[in-house]
Amino acid sequence: MFQMDLQHSDWVVFMGSNMAECHPVGFKWPMKAKAKGATLIHVDPRFTRTSAMCDLYVPIRAGTDIVFLGGLINYILENKKYFLEYMVNYTNAATLINSGFKDTEDNDGFFSGYDPQRRAYGQPGPRVAIEPTWQYQRGAAPARVPEPPMGPQGSSIKGVDIPTLVANRLPGQPLEDKTLQNPSTVFQILRRHYSRYTPEMVERICGTPKDLFLKVAQTITDRSNRSSTGAFVYAVGWTQHTTGVQLIRTAAMIQALLGNTGRPGGGIMALRGHASIQGSTDISSLYHSLPAYLATMDSRRAHDTLREYIQTETEPTSFWSNTPAYIISQLKAWFGDAATADNDYGYDWLPKINGDHSHLPVFVEMADGKIKGMILTGQNPATSINSQFQRKAMQNLEWLVVLDFYETESAAFWKNVAGADPAKVKTEVWFLPAAHIAEKDGSMTQTQRTLQWHDKAADPPGQARSDLYFWYALGKKLKARYASSSAKRDLPIKNMTLNYDPDPEDVAKWKAKDEPSAFKILKEINGFDVKTGNVLNTFADLKADGSTAAGAWIYTGTVQLVSGQIVNRARMTPGKNDGWVSPNWGWAWPANRHNLYNRASADPDGNPWSDRKKYTYWDTKATPPVWKNDSGEGIDFTPTKAPGTAANPTGIGVAFHSGRDPFLLKVDGKAWLFAPTGLLDGPLPTHYEPWESPVKNALYKQDRNPVAKIWDVQGNKYNEFAGAQFPYSITTYRLTEHHLSGTMTRWLPWLAELMPDLFVELPPELAEEKGIKNGDFVTVTTERGAAEARALVTRRLRPFMIDGKKVYQIGMPWHWGYMGIATGDVVNNLSSLVGDPNVSIHEGKAFTADIRKGRARQ
């Protein structure tokens, strides 16, 4: 979904999101929907500025969203409110699952296949749990052909016919029961799994009054059908849990059952927070994925050679069947002429990961003294999760480089004000001033996958330089150092292409003449024909034979060659004549498709579900017939593939799917109500209490996520689960006035004065118990540490009745730190190192704490 699409929603549920406060400009779109009569609902532990704009506010205890959403699924299934035609055709509701599958209902909170020794499901291997009992029942696979022998390492792909390799891994077609009666159908498994997620259970666990829950259920089901659609809007309120991924998935399942995904005004709007956070995962600052979401080479998986990698990672029956072209084009982009079929395009030069190298475990290693140095660009770990742990770990660094606008908490981690003794810290610290966004060219990719280009408007002050310049200059220096080396480990740097020197006209009016050309980099990311150097207009042109290069296939099309002119489609042209989709307002990957899976906005025969919700449709009047969209949207389907096309059991990629399968990136082309692969903690979202919770799990004997990432290290003691010492449920969040740890906002006078001090929001009932008045200094504590704040006593937070026990909800915005104009304690002094098993995201949204009147330090 994209934000402008929200104006077409007939209902919007904001959950795990505080959109009015955190995406205030984008919030104009749900407001337009409201003006047209849409119902806006906010489900949240707090009554926020978003709640104030909504028709209905629904309270929920932090960390219990799966119960609520599972309750909606239960309501939909038991009251037959699903969009039957959509569900049967576009989801895997009818697919049969292995008869050995055991649900959490059978196993007291565990699925079949759990190994308590490893604390994991399925066969050993990171990221993707392949548990046999979770798999589809399938027909016979196509006949295999003999494969060419494995070539030597360093030349495993030369002369190999890749399509044969891929075809040899085609599976049999999934078996289905379209009547949905067979107990092994996903549909029946779903019903069983959520059978106890009743409105009463929702009230018991979430603390949500039953009548409010039912109002939500009635609204979304009444307004989801052929002529009505609705959307869930979420942000880190859903991601930052030890069950974060499953939580989000529950909503995706609801939208699949209600037939909203891929339709105008319908689906899930994922709100990401930074201006270019989407860009930072697309071009990958994540350890486990290469740019464009290709898997990083991993020593624990079958990735020894390029051929093995291709065999392991290519999905023969989804759009990812093109993985060979994508990875090889990427290697060509990185190593240029040095990459050839003879050396597997440089595949072996790249290091392989061998564990979880995400933020939290890296700092655990740092605390053990294993990390010698760190370069921070626009990152502030001194205020991050279990911040005292992180600040202390940083004291083990031999060197630290910080690039930022201001002396951040991380740059000052060694000072008294950070709780350190400078005499004892041996780290050598460089602080380099960074250029601001208006002081450099570049692109940003924001929450709806849209690249937006910006031009440099002014020189940065003094010696401040762009981050791009830093990395480029560093890379060139390294290349020079390794130029004469023959060591294998130096080859990637030695051979990498690093030729983004600016043309004279690029820097004519600016001070620094050595600023690398961001546009040249964008062109490389976009992709080009190796021989001619011409940019490629579509990823369909990418090949696996080394004739194309592309840094990230999803971005192909951002830069295009049109009538001999290079056009930067990431440039924004004002959309007044552009239609509401605004296809010329930047470039939405892939291929300028804004609403993914929009084939689903037409019925199985290709006709719009209704006139009111007409979007993508099969135009039989055109010759030849073709998929059309009159709003300027990119069509997310093969343009000439007729709706009635049968599935091809030997077809590669999307050819394997029928003309009725909109979900191109899934191996069966269908939305997954049941996820046989891809998730480490189960094929179905299940309620587990947060790692720190004031109450036990009322649904299962297994209280918490059995696969959650935990760290039993010094400085990370967890609060006793359901203990009495830290009895309050605490959540952390953001305000409109500040951004993240305040590194950009607490230094700005106009923002600092709007929210100058850290505060904790608590209900008057709790305040009275503790003798706390509005404005008093209070101290919030956990096993990890304390944070002092001003008390903001408000009825917007409340005591919840959870299974007969009173549980208070409190909350703190986490923007503060010890540097800047507006300073305050670091809220992450309170949080702990704990993570979702799939993506290692922390659980800042739900844990426990104590609160007392009085200052933290006298």
Binding site: L735, D757, R796
Partner: protein
């Protein structure tokens, strides 16, 4: 009313309390961060809901107010938000008392300040019925929202209206805005939100408050001080928003006060004269 007056319509039902308007105003007018401790005598944190600005002042020309109305059992809950500023009254108290001509009515119907004329007597500060205009300690003159006079002179609208993401603040011809506002109140009433009414002009609407402590109270549009060129759509009584329900012009007192002074002078004169003459001691006896 000034012909073709320009102004703003503040539809508080669309306000998300984001304070973009406060920041836009500060940026356009290059106003400094208020030194709360020096000016107001308390530390920066006020904690009046999400309002840490507290009051309009010489360096805060726009102020977003937050009013939480939640019952103890939480069943009735709303959070009213309103972006406050100078109302550019058609009959402006500040304008009427200014002894130097520093305050003046512009060609757009707004009230602007000649910063090079103001002597800092602060009479206007005492005269404004809304507590808007304020004395600037550092410059020795008074300041308030001037409806972005420099922007209007180049055909633009106000900075705050431009920054508002939900068009809660809209700028335009007051006559046009009145029509938009009247239609909006009717639309809200049709949706069951009979709380809505206009503060600043009487456009003929009347309703009843449906939530909060004044639930059940009748409300109707009100024209005040001749009409406000920056006017509001409100959902509760004006006092709830820190606005006077019957703002008066200081002028109301001028003639009566002068009259009483005249009478007092006469009475004092007569009694004084009479008293002086009624001396028992004879003139010669005294000498």
């Amino acid at each position: 009313m000034t012909a073709n007056a320009k102004g703003m319509f503040v539809d508080t039902t669309l306000c998300t309390g984001c304070k973009a308007c406060q920041v836009a105003c500060k940026q356009w007018n290059e106003l400094p961060m208020e030194d709360e401790a020096a000016v107001r005598g308390h530390t920066a944190f006020i904690g009046n809901s999400y309002d840490n600005t507290g009051h309009l002042s010489a360096t805060n020309w726009r102020h977003v107010k937050f009013i939480e109305q939640i019952t103890p059992d939480r069943t009735d809950a709303r959070w009213l938000m309103m972006s406050d500023s100078c109302k550019h009254c058609e009959q402006a108290g500040c304008l009427e008392v200014c002894p130097t001509g520093a305050l003046y009515r512009t060609q757009f119907g707004s009230v602007d300040i000649h910063q090079d004329v103001c002597i800092g007597c602060r009479y206007c500060v005492g005269a404004c019925p809304f507590g808007v205009i304020d004395f600037n300690q550092r410059t020795g003159r008074v300041n308030k929202c001037i409806l972005c006079q420099d922007r209007m002179e180049t055909g633009e609208g106000t900075a705050c209206a431009k920054s508002c993401p939900t068009a809660s603040l809209t700028f335009g011809k007051v006559d046009d805005l009145k029509q938009v506002a009247a239609a909006r109140v009717r639309e809200l009433h049709a949706q069951g939100k009979s709380d809505a009414y206009i503060y600043g002009w009487d456009l003929g609407n009347s309703g009843v408050i449906t939530q909060g402590p004044n639930k059940g109270t009748a409300v109707k549009d009100m024209e005040v001080v001749g009409g406000l060129n920056v006017f509001y759509l409100l959902l509760d009584k004006p006092e709830i928003y820190g606005l006077p329900s019957a703002p008066q012009l200081p002028q109301r007192n001028f003639v009566p006060s002068a009259g009483v002074a005249l009478i007092s002078a006469a009475v004092l004169g007569v009694t004084g004269l009479a008293a002086f003459r009624r001396r028992r001691l004879a003139e010669t006896a005294a000498q």
